[in-house]
Symmetry: C2
Subunit: 248 residues, 2 copies
């Protein structure tokens, strides 16, 4: 007995950006709508994997297409494999859209972090994509809402354990921008004095001596990420805090 396998594998990327106030994610409109499926429906950028491509390569391809950027921070989250996660009209649309014939589509979720700036925003706008405040999103096509929620949960965990925050901040940033990012991602508010103490004490950021200009209040100093200090701390990490910050 020989069974012809016939499963397509796709990647879907939750691309996060931070505008200084809130966490945003890149959404695109469904193209080539068919009956019952509107062109207004929003989705995460995604693609089918090509034959001689790994999943991270496919995800990078999606990112380059949708943002114009390469070398983006990218991390795999979960796999969504319900046999009927794509079916009926949605399956019809997907097969037409991607030019494939398949009975099943399994997708791999990724999240990506980009530094929002006017350049990337105008690029994505030209592409017809939108940066939408994560908290305001109520529905996406298929199971993309679930993929997004999973990506966000992963980001929330990572930002408290690794320096991914710096992937979302501009190269030079103020301490308060950094704190706002933390608060926007985790939904937790932090005491500003304690935050400064912890961050500055860690040596993970270095002051530049440059200050904000033309702001109607005391200008904030700009800092940069100190990669060297982090790598050193990284090594000792597993030894710290008794059983590594374990809290029941």
């Amino acid at each position: 007995m020989t069974i012809e396998t016939n499963t397509a594998i796709s990647v879907d990327c939750a691309v996060f950006g931070f505008d200084g106030r809130s966490l945003k994610v890149l959404l695109i409109k469904r193209r080539y709508p068919i009956d019952d499926l509107s062109a207004e429906d929003l989705k995460l950028p995604g693609a089918m994997i090509l034959e001689n491509e790994t999943l991270p390569e496919a995800a990078n391809r999606v990112l380059e297409e949708s943002t114009g950027l390469s070398d983006i921070y990218l991390k795999q989250t979960s796999i969504f494999s319900a046999p009927d996660r794509v079916s009926g009209k949605e399956m019809e649309w997907i097969c037409r859209f991607h030019g494939i014939a398949t009975r099943r589509v399994v997708t791999v979720g990724y999240y990506a972090l980009v530094k929002l700036n006017p350049g990337i925003v105008s690029y994505t706008t030209r592409k017809g994509a939108k940066w939408v405040e994560v908290d305001s999103i109520r529905s996406l096509i298929m199971d993309h809402m679930e993929i997004l929620a999973d990506a966000l949960a992963n980001l929330q965990r990572e930002i408290t354990h690794t320096p991914v925050a710096f992937e979302l901040l501009p190269r030079k940033f103020t301490i308060n921008q950094f704190q706002s990012l933390f608060e926007a991602v985790t939904g937790i508010s932090i005491d500003n004095r304690n935050f400064r103490k912890k961050i500055l004490g860690s040596g993970i950021i270095t002051p530049t001596g440059e200050f904000e200009k033309n702001v109607p209040h005391k200008p904030a100093q700009y800092y940069i990420f100190n990669k060297t200090v982090f790598r050193k701390a990284e090594k000792d990490k597993f030894k710290l805090n008794f059983i590594n910050n374990w809290t029941y």
Copy 2:
């Protein structure tokens, strides 16, 4: 242009067990060897996903076949998608073994935790599988070594943040068994007094009043896991410790 998709998806499971001394993983011998591929080659238990089956369902099926148990703790790790991760003789073997025709096999890693006891050991032995000390494993077929390493890294992270340890311990266990498990998984040695203080102080385990019998030393008390206490702590978790135990 319509492309026939032709990718097979498999699951491979690193099934961990703890015998009181060291961390073990369940390995099976390759069956139906062909040229150059020995029947002595060891691999992780795995399977192709069936047409109307999710990945976790497939992983549970593998576990039930290889251990005879259902309701096992199971968690997805990463996806291994290098286009040539299976090729040549290995691909020939896989297609013959699973009765499929495919040009590519992508696999999803899982790790599973079981309570080792004479029953399960005799079951797995009858099946021709072996419980091998994780530290002693030098090679496995294809990229299974990498899948195992990834599973272990995930377990090491999880055991310090969630109560998965109790999935590996018998229902009644001594505090020193618990500590040995920690040390075996993480490779870190912990001061016994401090361990007891932290564990008992958390309320996560409850003494049973029962003691070891026929041991040539002071008999140890048995404890059981206290699920209620954990769930309560779980809720507050994200608020604890400033930015949740964040250490640069």
